[in-house]
Subunit: 340 residues, 2 copies
Amino acid sequence: MGSAVTDLRLTRADVEEAARFLDGRVVRTPVVRSASLDARAGARLLFKAENLQDGGSYKMRGATVAVGRLAAAGSATGVVCQSTGNHALAVALAARRHGLAAIVVLPADAPAAKVSRAEAAGARVVVGGADAEERLRLVARIHTETGYAVIDAYDHADVVAGQGTAALELIEEAERAGTPLDALVVPVGGGGGAAGASLAAAGRGIDLYGVEPVGCDSLARSLAAGRRVPVVPAPTLADGLRPTCVGALPFGILHEAGIGAVRVDDAEIAEAFRLVLSELRLLAEPSGAAALAGALRVTASGIHRTVGVLLTGGNVEPDLVADLLTRGTEATGKRHQPAA
Amino acid sequence: MGSAVTDLRLTRADVEEAARFLDGRVVRTPVVRSASLDARAGARLLFKAENLQDGGSYKMRGATVAVGRLAAAGSATGVVCQSTGNHALAVALAARRHGLAAIVVLPADAPAAKVSRAEAAGARVVVGGADAEERLRLVARIHTETGYAVIDAYDHADVVAGQGTAALELIEEAERAGTPLDALVVPVGGGGGAAGASLAAAGRGIDLYGVEPVGCDSLARSLAAGRRVPVVPAPTLADGLRPTCVGALPFGILHEAGIGAVRVDDAEIAEAFRLVLSELRLLAEPSGAAALAGALRVTASGIHRTVGVLLTGGNVEPDLVADLLTRGTEATGKRHQPAA
């Protein structure tokens, strides 16, 4: 399998190979259902509960493939990455498992839970800029100074293939249950998970949808333009879904394979968060719950019978949980906007 | 398998038979773990996530066995039961699946979510007395008037055997993983789940612990006295764990087999609730989280290496969730005491 960041020739076979690598190394998370949510959507919804993954998100998959292969090659003493939280935590955990040092660059306004978890996993946390480009410059500088390998959050073939294994498991479990997916809905930040899902779904007649917060819709704009279009990310509850621009590798895959772009606002994300908690009894982070918000839009068309929903993670501050449960459906994004 | 409520000769084989009956009829819930909770407990904790069960609690198991066998026998047109919520919801769901009518008697102060879920499942909800004995009298009257079969929440062989399948799955999964349980911690209300767990654990060298809220400790008092001792249930966050007295059938099983009694207060239950949410990313109801509170006491002894924890359910009001997340560790029982 290729590992150059510009490798556009990733295929389903790469995701299957990543799945074999991950067997026994990460949690095979359950697929959960709710009769009440099915009734609400008018479709069978199959939720992949990656909030139950090690490190609390599906980012553990890509990080484990990338860091694990790097460690097996024996060439690196450490790794460095930037992320809004989950990828950093996943890289920190994977590095510790393989005896590598880790430096992670987080935004100044990252949720405290994500910072403390990354530190608890043994990583050195560097608080960097509010936008991804600033943090990427910091990563490049650290790479130059330390020689640590850069594990990009989405422009990395191993990361994309690893993330895709969550979708692969969901697709295969739905097939085994006799209810194959005809649609799959995933949240989109840098697009790595969506690209992995696209590879996993290839050739199976599954419509793929990527969900972005309103104002953080780099993928939607890029698909419309036929080239990558950056945005100035708007405030959103979904702190994991606000990169400046969809990644080059993911965009190449998604542009070629096709993906429907769905935008959801904070009120929809908050409502989806509450539904996941009350109906599935799972704690999803808003970025994960965004997938359900998108699925409720997708199923409104009435054309899909069985829809996979990737609940990507569950790292969320207790005070934000309480806030979302007591605020009703009013928009709450302002409170959580990036620091100036 | 016997179905008389006074049958004390239930064995592990009855639980295994119930497990075969339930195969494909209820969710095989996942076993989840957390490195941070293991570190906190100083032991390997394996959580059986029955909050992900149909109906949101493991009561679906016993209800499905009891109602399913009744329906298969073809003798009943309907069923009636009383409970603080989860058993009622489970019986309502099981009855609907089998085309039987259901009447459920709930306490006047039952959480609104439990009432509305039972109604949504097609049951007729009768709001009865605050204590179980009053509700049992109501159940007896409804039985006389309608001829509906009584599905007792714990003094029922099928219910005990069915509840035991959750523990059985946990015990067997731990064995398959090469980390067999040396202790198993379950919350205790009427004792049906604990009795089922006792049967499932028989002969495997597993120390069984039953957790009761302070002041709702009928099992602890009954074990000490060697006979069933009722209590006037004190206010507790764990609304599912406050029957007046441990059931006759469960007490017979638990008295004979042996079980350690553990008492936990509201502050411990609230803390356990928060830990389940933040570290396992699962929503447990306080009665379910009580099992973790008990496990943290049990593991303080340092003698257990691998401890199973039965997270029995996840039906909890959003406003109580918000309350538990914002109140810190102060006791919150008063607000949730039974109506006078």
